[in-house]
């Protein structure tokens, strides 16, 4: 698809209101998750006297920095349920939000390079099918048919031994997703307040009753934290801890090319994931930088490593150039699963820990977090993803399990 097929850039999709003295609920974080939460609070729960506070500009954090991959082929039942629900929402959201954000279900392949990979992948395909997630196992020839530019020969260090494939997976234009949610939120009466940084919370005993910001104190009945990499900083202000470590996660794009890459390819073993954006850039990412960091940048050897992996798997990329690299701050948990639920502070709720895979979860995060904030109890889909699981031991260990890039 070429650039002239993109939607025209509209003038104003949302107002820029001054913060009111009080709201029924305040969402901290104006990224995809915060906006989706506000949207579902207004649409599903009739809560329209609410605000989304964003310390910078709308969707300028990880929402602007991810590689836009959407899939639901997770191993465990709890993950498959929430990510598959997200995928089903992705399928209807363009119509519901009346905004074509170019959700392209071009499929996602997760390559296997070792016997261990093959066994894990075949197992995951079985688990996915049992959970109603579309999944198939491809042999190397089938891999080649779907993605002809992939090198499936045995002249590389880790030859492709097959792949899992989820046909309904794909990519979307992340900025447009944010704008689509923001416009609908605004139409429903939600105040989106940019350049509004939270500096503290007002509490009455153990109950949160207000939010201190650089634009004054805002009274509120309820607070929802949706700040990804900065979740720990907010939690500390509120007086509790989160089992989160913030790491830089880098990504890069090449210059524009003719369409050469028809799907999305992920390899955990040689470690790169690649798709081609609608405009034509090759979009690549890999794992986090090992150290904790809030700097929105990482070390160059991480980029070098993923480029080496990409060139080995896609020899055609050897002549492409890196146009731009960047980093975001991802909020990782020990089990590589998110935390969506209540907190030790009354009327304060948290949505965090989506780590390297938050974009795909955006609609489900919004739906379940809104339900949790509005009713005070978790939705069926996010019940397992509570903060308490680190005490009960009921972890959802996608880290060792699966298609999670780590």
């Amino acid at each position: 698809m070429s650039a002239d097929q993109l939607p025209e850039h509209p003038d104003f999709l949302w107002r820029n209101p001054e913060p009111k003295a009080s709201y029924d609920a305040v969402i901290v974080g104006g990224g995809g998750h915060g906006l989706a939460t506000a949207y579902f609070l207004a649409k599903n729960h009739g809560m329209t006297n609410i605000a989304v506070l964003e310390k910078g500009w709308l969707a300028g954090g990880n929402m602007a920095r991810n590689t836009t991959i959407i899939r639901s082929n997770y191993l465990w039942d709890e993950s498959a349920a929430i990510y598959e629900h997200a995928l089903k929402l992705w399928e209807i959201l363009p119509e519901e939000l009346e905004y074509d954000f170019l959700f392209s279900q071009r499929g996602v392949m997760n390559l296997a390079h070792t016997l261990g990979d093959v066994r894990e992948s075949v197992r995951r395909v079985g688990a996915n099918k049992l959970n109603g997630v579309d999944a198939e196992w491809l042999d190397p020839q089938q891999v080649k048919e779907l993605c002809p530019i992939l090198n499936i020969s045995d002249n590389i260090r880790y030859p492709v031994m097959g792949a899992t494939y989820q046909p309904r997976a794909g990519i979307a234009k992340h900025d447009h997703v944010a704008w689509a949610f923001a416009r609908k939120c605004d139409e429903l009466g939600v105040d989106i307040i940019q350049n509004c940084e939270v500096t503290g919370f007002v509490k009455d005993g153990n109950r949160v009753v207000g939010v201190k910001t650089n634009r004054g104190t805002i009274n509120t009945e309820k607070v929802g934290l949706a700040a990804a990499g900065h979740s720990s900083v907010l939690a500390e202000m509120a007086g509790f801890r989160l089992p989160i470590q913030s790491h830089p996660l880098q990504a890069l794009v090449s210059e524009l090319h003719e369409p050469v890459h028809p799907t999305v390819v992920m390899s955990n073993h040689v470690h790169v994931y690649v798709s081609q954006a609608h405009k034509g850039e090759l979009v690549m990412g890999a794992g986090v930088d090992s150290y904790n960091g809030y700097g929105q940048r990482g070390s160059f050897h991480v980029i070098e490593h993923q480029m080496a992996a990409a060139v080995e798997l896609f020899p055609i990329f050897a002549r492409a150039h890196v146009l731009r690299t960047w980093g975001g701050i991802v909020d990782t948990t020990m089990d590589a699963s998110p935390i969506v639920g209540t907190t030790p502070v009354e009327n304060m709720f948290v949505n965090c820990g989506w780590g390297t895979g938050g974009f795909k979860g955006t609609p489900a995060a919004g739906l379940t977090f809104a339900h949790t904030i509005a009713t005070g109890t978790p939705h069926e889909l996010n019940r397992p993803f509570s903060l308490e699981r680190f005490e009960t031991g009921a972890l959802i260990d996608e880290h060792g399990a699966a298609a999670v890039a780590h």
Partner: protein
């Protein structure tokens, strides 16, 4: 890439090291006596400081020794490198920011 001053080997590229997370987290003296909450704190909860952070590194392809480092997690500036068992340096009282170890920069 970080340039890290190993206390034993001197300044080397980050790729020679591995990260070990928050420093100064002691194994509980009486694990049996811990509540689930306290055990969870030990296993899963670590500080996630924005700013100066005391952390462990190991010089995997050099002396293979662990050591501690004080690093700003926003600027990535390395403020101090010190040996295992030594207490975290107090930068505020000694104003050591201007005298960080040789080569200990990003």
């Amino acid at each position: 890439m970080l340039l890290i001053s190993c206390p034993n080997c001197g300044p080397r590229d980050e790729t020679e090291f591995h990260y070990g997370g928050q420093a100064h987290v002691a194994y509980p003296e009486n694990p049996d006596a811990l509540t689930d909450r306290e055990w969870a704190e030990y296993l899963f909860y670590r500080d996630n400081t924005k700013g100066n952070f005391a952390e462990r590194w190991v010089h995997s392809t050099g002396c293979r020794k662990w050591f501690n480092m004080l690093r700003d997690t926003v600027t990535y500036d390395i403020k101090a490198v010190y040996k295992m068992g030594e207490p975290r340096p107090d930068l505020t009282s000694a104003r050591q920011d201007a005298t960080s170890p040789e080569g200990a920069s990003k």
